[in-house]
Subunit: 216 residues, 2 copies
């Protein structure tokens, strides 16, 4: 049985990864991390997509992060979205490291070896724990930590936003991703508020991809 766990936020990137995983694996589950005072709409969006697609969603409360740091990630007046775009104004150190580590513990507990995450080096963020070298090192560390052979997979690592839209389109799911995912810092689903940095990145990428399609 070919089983995968997708780290899933309900954004464009992780939803594209989820759709990709559903094509590549026999069985797919999602893990969604909750923390701080972020938009409840974001979680609702992730849950709706998981239900739509018929995949199990494991929600993990990560309030423990609040014990370590106080910063933009857990303050409603300074929203940031690591996965979906823009250089962040601040970050919780090692947050992605922690999330992937918990995803791995969960994956092993359900007998999955593949862990899929939508991180990218290309144009999304400056987080060091989203880089390829980190992911490869973490893979080895997790294998040693749990005496297991994990496979951390990053389908978007070298893609820009236009290429992420292309991947969704190749799976015939561009409209689904466009209409159902939440990227916007202001919590507006689909094309979003059109003004925040995350919307700008997402919509510029979409325009670039559609333009390329049109031209060819």
């Amino acid at each position: 049985m070919n089983k995968a766990v997708v780290v899933f936020s309900g954004g464009q990137d992780s939803t594209t990864c989820l759709l990709w995983a559903m094509e590549e694996f026999d069985e797919v589950e999602t893990v969604t991390f909750l923390y701080g005072q972020r938009h409840k709409s974001e979680v609702d969006c992730a849950t709706k997509i998981a239900n739509d697609l018929g995949v199990k969603q494991k929600i993990i409360q990560m309030d423990v992060l609040n014990q370590l740091t106080s910063n933009a990630l857990t303050r409603s007046d300074m929203q940031i979205e690591a996965e979906e775009g823009s250089v962040p104004n601040t970050f919780v150190e090692g947050r992605n490291h922690i999330f992937l580590s918990f995803a791995a513990i969960y994956a092993k507990s359900i007998g999955a070896k593949a862990i899929i995450t939508g991180v990218s080096e290309t144009d999304f963020s400056g987080y060091p724990d989203c880089r390829d070298a980190f992911i490869r090192s973490l893979n080895t560390t997790l294998n040693l930590a749990m005496d297991y052979t994990f496979d951390l997979i990053t389908p978007l690592m070298w893609k820009d936003k236009a290429e992420v839209w292309k991947l969704a389109d190749q799976m015939g799911r561009l409209e689904y991703v466009r209409d159902n995912t939440l990227t916007c810092y202001n919590g507006v689903i689909a094309d979003g508020c059109l003004e925040c940095p995350a919307c700008k990145l997402r919509n510029d990428g979409l325009a670039k991809y559609l333009q390329g399609q049109h031209a060819s």
Copy 2:
């Protein structure tokens, strides 16, 4: 400023590490992880030692672990003590990996590079995330995750229990460690209940060390 964070449970091993760190570093803080329904006496013991020694203790609630697994570690009827000894009857996968990762996030937040943990390959447990190869790999992963140069230090990695007692004695603190630390599965401080596997390992090690002293 030479600053270190010690992962600290109030047991023999981590207390010996703390005393060692206080000799080696200008400034030392401790991090204690709480989870499940373990002996409250254990935490009280750790706090008392931190106060005795005049070091700051950061307590981190790790109930998040209960969301992932249900096993002996969080059930009061099946106590285990990873740090202090015996092959565990069961374990939370990757628990030490998670603890060290949180300790690292905390360390960076206070400007410390050294993280000290009392894990050992010698005679304590079968946890894969206490082995030297894992610790080295995690060190690299954490450096990449947070763009920082951590130094994970394991003073007890190759020591058996008698040698851990020896280290305490060399620092002139054998009696302190013997009288104030909690290793016992039944929550009895100092020499403990004398019957559980952790007490047996601890007291056999002490007997072995004292015998060697006597012989020489």
